[in-house]
Symmetry: C2
């Protein structure tokens, strides 16, 4: 099964045109006819990712950073669970960025982010990220416009720094429609065991949907680079979303091509049966 | 399937008598006849752990710390993979402690450990831990005897501090025989893709097996407490080991009994169909 990933990639300097994108795109695959086949492909992708992740860990030189951003209810948690959950937890870690603490606010906005940069050999997933500082912060005017204006460059420089040290960066916006979000919120209200995920304040944020799309449009236009590209993933069909995300991660790791290191000893000196 | 976990628990003040324990114990279950049934039980345990972990995360009050210690090749990595790998990576994190850095050595031995204590709502697995400071350090005499002597109390006080804040602590020694370790080392030498896991220095450590058992014996005797008990897990039959570890984690979480929090709103004010 071959899918086209390029259509989701934002070329440097291009605008993503979020309003023209189909949030339920499946590249012609249908849930009824193709879901099983897609699920198998996702399984197979995860097996391959798992092998490559072990090589990455053994090689101990490069790392992979996956940044997830999305509107509430778009499926960040479920993507993490489906695509990164099955991997070895020793080499894959999730960093979730919530409202900054007082200590974090007493530093530049990248300070807390930098601390979570992946070490060599590791995959790190950011559930929200430094992009909040040009998204929610811009929508609400929590920082002065000239401050926010400078942040796009700071972000690009920071990501280039990580890339220079061997970190590959994939940035994924999970793209859904406001109607889809409403459905998800209703589901949270229908199920008492999901009430803890609902916050009445989310309904207020929801009214700012268009403002959010505007700031996403700006951020993705200014911060999609060769070393840290943005992808806009159609996220309403979750079985298809998992295919796209797993395929992207797989192809990225294949391109990184991690290698088992040369052993620090001569295997000829240690025939297995000779050791004791 | 009911298995007896108590036989692996070290009561406070008791010696574990490591040399009298069967490292291949399976409580009468046999690989040929029972492995499938055991695997199913492990699957079922993991499903239940998964549900409880979501509750723990939602409740956001308690946390669980699982400390893993073992001789090289005893299966720490594979235990993490089998029992904690399938859980949601957002709520479960592994902290691996290797040789301390210069900065870490410039502090007390619990400084780097404390930083990795689990936050409320989370499960944290320690792959090696502060116990290295009374195990390998004692075997090699890297600290003065009177310094090491005081560490047992420091450890107990530290663990009590975590427990008082709502952290449940399980400490697991994966117990194998030196013959089993030799088999595992030979396997690493037989497979070129496992060479990176082999270090000729491991053969030197292996010669100190009895010394290691002595210091484990002391550490488990002095640091198994009501709030942070040690368990000695027979780890040679991996299918059975996974049953024991998953059962222990499950029963601990059941005992912690995390609850979904009361929503911060009155659900009656938000009928699902009314929101927009």
């Amino acid at each position: 099964m071959t899918i086209d990933l390029d259509r989701y990639r934002i070329a440097p300097g291009d605008a993503p045109h979020l309003d023209e994108r189909d949030t339920a795109d499946t590249q012609g695959l249908s849930e009824e006819q193709d879901e099983d086949r897609v699920d198998e492909q996702v399984e197979d992708n995860l097996d391959q990712i798992d092998d490559l992740q072990e090589r990455l860990y053994a090689e101990d030189k490069q790392s992979l950073l996956v940044v997830l951003q999305a509107m509430d209810g778009a499926g960040k948690d479920s993507t993490i669970r489906s695509v990164f959950g099955p991997l070895n937890p020793q080499g894959v870690r999730v960093a979730s960025f919530k409202a900054p603490t007082k200590e974090e606010l007493a530093h530049d906005f990248l300070w807390r982010i930098h601390k979570q940069a992946p070490e060599a050999g590791h995959i790190r997933v950011f559930n929200r990220s430094h992009y909040e500082d040009v998204l929610i912060v811009r929508v609400h005017g929590w920082a002065a416009p000239e401050i926010i204006e400078r942040r796009y460059d700071h972000i690009n420089h920071f990501e280039a720094l990580l890339a220079d040290r061997g970190t590959r960066i994939l940035k994924l916006m999970l793209h859904v429609s406001p109607e889809y979000q409403l459905e998800r919120m209703r589901r949270r209200l229908e199920r008492p065991d999901k009430h803890w995920k609902f916050n009445p304040g989310d309904l207020e944020e929801r009214k700012l949907w268009d403002d959010y799309m505007d700031v996403f449009e700006i951020a993705l236009t200014r911060c999609s680079t060769d070393v840290a590209p943005w992808y806009v993933i159609p996220a309403e069909e979750r079985w298809f979303r998992d295919l796209v995300v797993s395929q992207l991660v797989l192809e990225t790791l294949q391109d990184m091509d991690p290698q088992y290191p040369e052993p620090g000893f001569d295997p000829a000196d240690y025939p297995p049966e000779s050791i004791s």
